[in-house]
Amino acid sequence: MQNSFYREIVNDHNLRPAHKHDLPGANMELRGVNPSCGDDITLFLYIEDGIIKDGAFTGDGCAISQASADMMLDLIIGKKKEEALHLSELFLRMIKGSVSESELDELEEAGALIDISHMPARVKCAVLGWHTMESLIDPKLIESEA
């Protein structure tokens, strides 16, 4: 991975995450784990009237898993649940390598992780936070996964 923009963004969010802390007022909480590599996060959300009013995460893992969760929270805090799920769909599509330029803009900094689409081994790390968020706010997904 030679892309210095990608490296910079990942390093910044990994070393100085804005949202990596406990969230005592959270009304939703879910743990997400990648057993094969040890990425292990717990995502906290405070949702009121269908809007994600606040969010945070704790845990350990590689730089991509931690940075991706942090960037996700940057994006979804203040948004409606539906908007968050829409962004998640975009992000997952970006990682699979099929997203348009304008869609990429919607993802803001998280768009830097488009380079992961060339690194199949790191996909799990990048999507951990997003999958955890989807499972948390969309009960249908939890049912279908179970």
């Binding site: 991975m1 030679q2 490296r7 910079e8 390093n11 910044d12 990994n14 070393l15 094969s36 590599c37 040890g38 292990d40 350990d60 893992g61 590689c62 730089a63 991509i64 690194m119 081994a121 790191r122 790390c125």
Partner: protein
């Protein structure tokens, strides 16, 4: 021995000189002679072995059985009846564990070490569940060494089977198999040895070690993927039921039942991997040509350099023995503040192939109190320059991850 010439035997390494392959414990690269032997087999001798009555099938059978003799001689087994071809060490260990189940009763014990690869752990968990036996763990110290006291604490009168790796795929430590096999036998237990990380690197003599079973893979010793070996003492293999059943492992079959073919065919159901066996035999020839003592000395030499190189990297924590000679070319480490997957990604950007993760040894990782680590592993075809490149690249990792130093 001109090691630069040896390296030229490996097409993948020659065709891509900028690649630095330091993951041979996962799988070794293949020399021309192995690839040529397999091609020659398929071009000149291919038919279904052990079945046909025509000359070509006999040629395939001979190629396959000659390979078995090459393996027998390589590990000094008494008879080719004791050499079972499998897919890999994992299948060999599954075979042993599954087929030894009926020797166990509830209350019996199986003892394995905490440093076993999942391949030498899960089969025994399953066997314990099937038989009602208890699975016990032989602990190691923080450098990975197993003391007599640790062995005696887990192995006793109730122990029926001891399974132990000869070299740890994580820590590189070499267990004293001869001593522990002797101790197990004194208690009436069988001894199963995982040779996946030892047979490719130094001389392993099953009779001198006194093991009852030895498992290893062809692909880790420059042979092809998909061929492995289980050595077992003839008497034990005779007593064991078959593992997989089907074609070519039977003597007579009626509507109601079957009798089994003679060893070793009893354990080789279905069409065998003759091309793979031929490739493995070519790898054995290659090892013998270079000289096994030369290979061991070369890897020890490279290991000493790698040990010093890794120790010179700031913030790098090397796991396992504190002495270079005890590492057997396997070096597992962490770097402060950097996840091992990120280390491997940065190494990859510099075209250096290393392993990162739990190395299929999660209980050991838990014991070492780290979810994952990075690992460098060496083979005789590696070079001093590659180790220097590794060192220089590792020294840049923290900076590239955004740390000031």
């Amino acid at each position: 021995m001109n090691w630069n010439d040896v390296r030229k035997d490996f097409p993948l390494l020659v065709s891509d000189p900028s690649l630095c392959y330091l993951d041979s414990s996962a799988t070794a690269q293949k020399p021309c002679c192995v690839l040529d032997a397999m091609r020659k087999y398929y071009e000149e001798s291919n038919a279904n072995p052990l079945r046909g009555l025509y000359d070509l099938s006999q040629a395939a059978t001979d190629a396959y059985e000659d390979s078995r003799e090459a393996v027998r001689s390589f590990i000094n087994a008494k008879s080719t009846k004791e050499i079972i071809f499998t897919r890999n060490a994992s299948e060999s260990l599954n075979l042993a564990a599954f087929c030894l189940t009926e020797r166990l009763c509830p209350g019996d014990e199986i003892a394995i070490t905490i440093m076993e690869h999942h391949s030498d752990l899960i089969p025994w968990q399953m066997t314990a569940k099937r038989s009602g036996a208890l699975l016990r763990f032989i602990e190691c110290d923080e450098e990975g060494l197993i003391t007599d006291e640790a062995f005696d604490a887990a192995v006793g009168e109730k122990t029926k089977i001891v399974a132990m790796t000869q070299v740890s795929n994580v820590l590189g430590v070499r267990n004293d198999i001869k001593k522990f096999a002797e101790k197990a036998h004194k208690l009436g237990a069988l001894f199963v040895c995982d040779g996946a990380q030892s047979v490719p690197h130094f001389r392993v003599d099953v009779q001198a070690l006194g093991v009852d079973f030895l498992a290893f893979s062809g692909h880790k010793m420059c042979g092809p993927m998909g061929i492995g070996v289980l050595y077992g003492r003839e008497k034990l293999l005779e007593e064991m039921p078959p593992f997989l059943t089907g074609g070519e492992m039977i003597e007579y079959v009626t509507r109601e039942g079957a009798t089994w073919a003679e060893l070793p065919h009893k354990f080789e159901a279905g069409t065998v991997n003759a091309g793979g066996a031929v490739g493995l035999a070519a790898a054995i020839d290659y090892y013998n040509k270079i000289g096994r003592e030369n290979i061991e000395a070369r890897e020890q030499y490279l290991g000493n350099i790698a040990f010093e190189a890794l120790k010179s990297v700031p913030h790098l924590n090397l796991l396992g023995p504190r002495e270079a000679s005890l590492h057997n070319g396997i070096f597992t480490f962490t770097i402060d503040g950097v996840h091992p997957h990120d280390i491997a990604e940065i190494m990859n950007a510099d075209r250096i192939c290393i392993r990162a993760g739990h190395h299929c040894a999660q209980p050991l990782m838990k014991f070492l109190n780290t979810p994952s680590t990075a690992r460098v592993s060496l083979m005789f075809y590696n070079t001093e320059e590659e180790i220097l490149r590794l060192e220089e690249s590792l020294k840049t990792v923290r900076g590239r991850m955004g740390y000031a130093e």
